[in-house]
Amino acid sequence: MRGWSALFYKEVLRFWKVSFQTVAAPVLTAVLYLVIFGHVLENHVKVYETVGYTSFLLPGLVMMSVLQNAFANSSSSMVQSKIMGNLVFILLTPLGYWSWFFAYVLSAMVRGMAVGLGVLLVTAGFIPLTFYNPLWILAFALLGSAMLGTLGLIAGLWAEKFDQMAAFQNFVIVPMTFLSGVFYSIHSLPPFWQQVSHLNPFFYMIDGFRFGFFGQSDVSPWLSFSLVAMALAAVSTLTLYLLKTGYKIRG
């Protein structure tokens, strides 16, 4: 076992030991959104001709859960370790910055995907869903969770207090996910807000992910894929640089 896989395994076990809080709770939240919004809006909103609103909503909520939980995992782990001081156990080891990066981001992806899969499984019995192209589904789930796991790592390195972390989560991540077209197609928005939505990277993750289910989307999945991949490359480069220089973790 290479050093990084021990850190990866530790990070997975860390959330798995409290999986009621880290997996079951977000699954329940997503399912509640789905049941309530579905109930209220099923007969009033139609986004795609052939798809009911609840079915339309489901992939959006799955992706939102994937993204938020991937972010929550790496960010809370890092900020807790920093504040508790137990990050020192990793700082003292020969693990290099690539190892840190892979361990934190991959474990965040595992948590995001576990929650997303949980939502799909729970709702499988009562919400009709098609799987137009599972490869796109997987590709966007991987890219999106990697992106948010990486952002979470940046936030975790940056934040010195829990309230800074909460601010990052509540004022940046939550609005960006909610305003990315989880609950609606951005074509239903006024032109100005459509333009704004196109600047939100989360929009492309949700839109591309949804394409995998229905074969319909607001923009081409290839465009979404390229943009998200480029954004991921950019934030990964930044994160590797921060880890290499020991930003806020090595004085």
């Binding site: 050093g3 021990a6 850190l7 530790k10 508790m84 003292l92 080891t93």
Partner: protein, 306 residues
């Protein structure tokens, strides 16, 4: 080759009130197999120096090597050779003692470390706590786990940053017995502590830091020789005469005065008699490391004032 080498190490922190020089051109070497003590008052820079050695912090200037490996340029190699017990009582609340030790082994790329982990648990009196969660342990037990975590990869160089702060007598004995055994097997030990009797008993060589500078560096026996050879100790209910106050170390009723010669003892007693004071429980004892320490720190604050 030196086990640890500090070469002209300086560290300046940027604070809101301007730069703060925590270390100023610190240089000394620790040889392989030594039991070395790093002493100094709070804020002298001991932990800063150890942080630089461990790669937790970077020196502003200078160079540190562990068995010839630069802690910055060859960090991975240097860290494999080092086992560091941090001063803060930190732990990961998610895991049990055994899990913490297995993960720590894993970070160093060591699989199947069970035999050595069992030996560590046994030697540190942790065997019955192996499956307890870290949160359930008392402070002393957490301290033992910190020591075990530092040793999972069998490092040739062991660094202990105040390992006995706030620790009961039993653990201190268990710990020193174990560390002394490792030292006999050839491990180099660097220790910082405020318990000077421990340093005197264990360390063959000592460096003293004050305000970021090395103010003494010698073998323990030479340091003891160089200082006042005797101490006049007595109890006193009244205020000490001004002439003696400058030299004395007063702890409650107990007064201790350095005395190099019998003449000096007489002079101290004469000063007391002149003031009309009667000392109780008087004794003359050999100077210990604590006396040397106070002496050295005192000399250097006079140096600064001048």
């Amino acid at each position: 080759m030196s086990a640890i080498s500090f070469l002209q190490v300086s560290k300046t922190f940027v604070t809101s009130r301007g730069p703060l020089q925590a270390l100023e051109r610190v240089s000394f070497d620790i040889q392989e197999g030594e039991f070395f003590g790093l002493l100094g008052p709070n804020g002298a820079g001991k932990t800063t120096l150890i942080s630089i050695l461990a790669g937790l912090s970077r020196a502003s200037e200078g160079r540190v090597t562990v068995l010839g490996h630069d802690v910055l340029k060859d960090a991975a190699h240097a860290r494999r050779l080092l086992g560091v017990v941090p001063q803060e009582l930190v732990f990961d609340p998610f895991f049990s003692v055994r899990e913490a030790l297995q993960f720590q082994s894993g970070y160093f790329g060591i699989q199947n470390n069970h035999a050595w982990i069992d030996e560590l648990l046994e030697s540190l009196g942790l065997a019955d706590k192996a499956s307890s969660n870290m949160r359930q342990l008392s402070g002393g037990m957490k301290r033992r786990v910190l020591v075990a975590q530092a040793l999972v990869h069998k490092p040739p160089v062991i660094v202990l940053d105040e390992p006995t702060a706030g620790v009961d007598v039993e653990l201190r004995q268990t710990l020193w017995h174990f560390i002394a055994k490792l030292n006999k097997q050839g491990h180099t030990v660097l220790l910082t502590t405020h318990y000077l009797e421990e340093a005197e008993a264990l360390c063959s060589r000592i460096a003293m830091l004050k305000a970021g500078r090395v103010v003494a560096l010698d073998t323990t026996s030479e340091l003891l020789k160089a200082s006042a050879s005797n101490v006049l100790r007595f109890k006193l209910d009244a205020e000490l005469p001004a002439a003696l106050q400058a030299k004395a170390r007063v702890t409650g009723r107990i007064v201790q005065l350095p005395a190099h010669t019998a003449l000096e003892v007489e002079a101290h007693l004469a000063a007391l008699r002149l003031a009309g004071l009667v000392p109780e429980d008087m004794e003359i004892r050999k100077a210990d490391l604590e006396d040397v320490f106070i002496d050295v720190m005192h000399q250097h604050s006079q140096g600064e004032a001048a």
